[in-house]
């Protein structure tokens, strides 16, 4: 659940068109979760402009890829 709820996208750092599931959910993180297993990250991203996991430039979208270095990034 940590991976669903942790903020992955920062305003001003990441493209404003980048989306994750956690942005649309109301979830509560159990602080004990990190005693059950180590953090892991399987976040799925999509571009709100294309509605797919690829940006307008055809390349995959992720937090590490959509941080201002692509021509299609919007802030």
């Amino acid at each position: 659940m940590l991976t669903l709820t942790s903020p992955k996208i920062s305003v001003g750092v990441h493209c404003a068109k980048l989306r994750t599931k956690g942005m649309y959910m109301n979830a509560v993180v159990d602080p004990d979760e990190l005693t059950f297993y180590d953090p892991y990250d399987n976040t799925v991203y999509w571009c709100v402009s294309t509605q797919t996991g690829f940006g307008p430039d055809g390349e995959p979208v992720r937090a590490d890829l959509c941080n201002g270095e692509r021509g299609c990034c919007k802030f």
């Binding site: 509560v28 399987n42 709100v48 430039d57 055809g58 992720r62």
Partner: protein, 714 residues
């Protein structure tokens, strides 16, 4: 938040009872309308045009012939492919264009007529080639990306303290969501206002996605999803290229458009559960404590998407190290799939647990109990393992390898699970009681098929002293208010408090209307058994129908929202499985599964049990049948259908006993994910117990079982 009138009641007439689905009759009679069933006047039918190649450059696209085909009203490109780097397709099924026509057949014909010239590029679909560096460079920044490492304690000291060490490689396969209802949308414009019927796990999210993608205000978009035929996470994200193109085609054609995907598209382009593999070395002390756990893991989530999972899963290891690699392949991207990461983490962890237990001649249940976190309300595995072992007849389990004569061997396996499932607000609910006695509970959530309507009716009826059938739940329409998407088992915990608060407030208003007629104080009244009456004095009361006559022409309305203390987070569960294995054919038959599962306060017991049945069956499919098979040369999927993509039939379903463990003091917690985490590992361990051969890779096909037995791994 104690001592509030909104608190869940200590005694309940409906909560936690076995209530039939309130929408069951509508579903079995066909009155329930799914997106597929929506038909609008003058509606067109649309099809997507997709790449047949896993990796290619689009040299040219000629839509002219399609536009001249009979009945065609609109043809649109998904994006501009005219220049690099935008002109690459990255997986088989990648979207290129879409067409709308007056009939489905005309749309299919037109889609076939689109002329696309491809320059086929070297593709990457074999994970090991990416890992060993022999794959072509496909992805910007590399084909492999490191995941988040984890390290604790002293691995060297841990292995030094071990009495025994086990090493192995474990893996689970890519599977697809295989929703009964495919992804799809019906879009209709009225000027700059869009109405979209879409099979989605989040109508409010779909509204935002449509609005942002189309550049219109959210207020101009209304999204409806009254019923849906399964999502399992694949419908929790965007509206998809198909949803967006449906809206654009409808706008361009100035007519409503229906765009439903076919089964092949479902397999290729609407998500999947990533593969998960690990090479693990673990040590155990003579008294059954895991002293060290060293893992290197990897997996593919498709083209540019991650594939991480928890490892080790649940068991406490002071000395551990784990590294992970996300491998990108030219395949459809992953999407969340029922308990994302947990079934993979469970399998990759649980198999080596039994191997370690065998090394020190310890019972697997006892070994697990020694290594689980301390017992707590959110960590009940120890109790469930002991209780489950007693009920399942675990003491009859033989040592690894069934020594009885004959080809049919039997075995038992066990595994544990957890999931958050906590929810919070905002999650507004609106209750109306009218003078004719009708109760409406309205909120902007949606029902994935899990029984949300029944949950709404149960909570409302319980608060009002009615039967669930007397409540009219209204959901599945953004006109009913904003709500979170249904994912991560968060819906029940998010919406239940607001429903009860709204119902209790509405009841308070009704009591105020009724009290003068009865000559009593409103605070002395209760709702029970279809009556409003003085508590413990039925003679001073009246029926619900008579009470509502005091409402007058203006209905009672009340609003509720989520309140802290009425819901909680984190479930515990344990599952036991029994199998038979025919060692001559390799066929595995699951004969029994026992589920022990908590979910806090049980709102609807039948619905909770249904979640467990569905979770077990889904995980049985994962264990025995499902597998996305790719051609090693072309990279294309070989089984994108329901014939060769295998799922369990009725005769494959075992006896499933569900024991829901009530924890009413914790409030409501979601239940969709956890029951599907454990079954696959328990089945694989039961096969190990039956055959004496450790199955370290899913699915457990007959060929794989026979192959493993030939190799004699144990």
């Amino acid at each position: 938040m104690a001592n509030s009138e909104f608190d869940w009641p200590a005694k309940s007439s409906v909560l936690g009872t076995r209530v039939n689905r309130v929408d069951g009759p509508d579903k079995v009679t066909g009155r329930a309308k799914y997106t597929f069933d929506i038909n609008r006047p003058g509606m067109l039918y649309a099809r997507m045009i997709r790449s047949p190649h896993p990796h290619a450059r689009v040299v040219s696209v000629d839509l002219s012939s399609a536009t001249r085909m009979p009945g065609v009203k609109s043809v649109l490109m998904v994006r501009d492919f005219s220049s690099a780097p935008n002109n690459r397709v990255m997986f088989q099924g990648d979207e290129i264009a879409a067409v709308a026509a007056d009939t489905e057949e005309h749309a299919i014909d037109a889609a076939r007529s689109v002329k696309i010239e491809y320059e086929v590029l070297p593709h990457l679909t074999i994970v090991n080639k990416a890992l060993d560096g022999t794959a072509p460079p496909v992805f910007t920044g590399g084909n492999v990306r490191d995941g988040r490492p984890a390290q604790a304690g002293d691995l060297t000291a841990g292995f030094a303290a071990a009495a025994k060490v086990v090493e192995g490689t474990y893996s689970t396969q890519v599977i697809t969501h295989t929703c009964m209802e495919s992804h799809g949308t019906v879009c209709e414009w009225a000027g700059d206002r869009l109405t979209a019927w879409i099979s989605t796990q989040g109508i409010s999210g779909a509204r935002e996605n449509f609005a942002s993608a189309l550049g219109i205000p959210q207020a101009n978009v209304r999204v409806l999803c009254q019923y849906m035929g399964g999502g399992f996470g694949s419908k929790a994200l965007s509206v998809g290229a198909e949803g967006l193109m449906c809206a654009k085609l409808a706008k361009a054609a100035n007519a409503p458009v229906k765009l439903m995907l076919d089964r092949k598209e479902e397999h290729l382009a609407t998500g999947n559960r990533p593969s998960a593999a690990s090479k693990i070395k673990a040590g155990v002390s003579a008294d059954g404590i895991i002293t060290a756990f060293d893992a290197q893991s990897w997996g593919t989530g498709g083209a540019g998407a991650t594939a991480d999972f928890p490892l080790p899963y649940l068991y406490q290891v002071a000395n551990r190290s784990r590294s992970h690699k996300n491998v990108f392949t030219n395949t459809g991207q992953q999407r969340p799939m029922r308990a994302p990461g947990h079934p993979q983490g469970s399998f990759n962890t649980e198999i080596i647990m039994d191997e370690l237990a065998d090394q020190i001649n310890m019972d697997p249940v006892e070994f697990r109990i020694k290594n689980l976190p301390p017992q707590a309300p959110n960590a009940m595995w120890r109790a469930y393992l002991q209780e489950g072992a007693a009920e399942f007849g675990w003491n009859k389990r033989h040592a690894t390898g069934d020594k009885t004569p004959g080809p049919i061997k039997t075995g038992m396996g066990v595994s544990v699970n957890t999931w958050g499932g906590g929810g919070r607000g905002p999650s507004p609910a609106h209750c109306e009681i009218t003078s004719d006695g009708v109760v409406i509970m309205r909120l902007g959530t949606q029902d994935l098929g899990t029984g949300t309507r029944t949950l709404v009716a149960v909570i409302t009826a319980d608060a009002l002293g009615l039967r669930p059938a007397q409540v009219r739940p209204e959901i599945g329409d953004t006109a009913f208010g904003v709500s979170a998407l249904s994912g991560g088992s968060t819906t029940a915990a998010s919406i239940s408090p607001g429903i009860r608060v709204a119902a209790v407030k509405a009841l308070d208003a009704l009591k105020e209307k009724v009290a003068p007629a009865l000559g009593v104080d409103a605070a002395s009244l209760v709702a029970a058994g279809g009556r409003i009456q003085v508590e413990n004095d039925p003679s001073k009361g009246m029926t619900w129908a008579d009470a509502c006559k005091h409402i007058g022409p203006q209905a009672i309305t009340a609003e509720g929202d989520w309140r802290a203390g009425m819901s909680s987070t984190t479930t515990s569960g344990a599952q036991f499985a029994e199998v038979t294995v025919d060692i001559e054919t390799g066929i595995v038959k699951v004969t029994r599964v026992l589920v022990l599962q908590d979910c806090g306060l049980v709102v609807s017991r039948l619905t909770a049990e249904s979640q467990c049945y569905g979770g077990v069956i889904g995980s049985l499919n994962f264990a025995l049948f499902e597998d996305r098979i790719l051609d090693r040369n072309t990279g294309q999927m070989l089984n994108p259908n329901m014939e060769w993509y295998l799922l369990a039939g009725m005769s494959d379903i075992p006896r499933i006993d569900v024991r829901i463990k009530d924890q009413p003091e914790r409030g409501v917690i979601g239940l969709g994910e956890p029951p599907t985490v454990s079954t696959a590992a328990a089945i694989a361990l039961a096969v190990r117990n039956a055959t004496g051969v450790t199955m370290r890779s899913l699915p457990l096909t007959p060929a794989k079982v026979l192959g493993a037995m030939r190799q004699g791994r144990a």
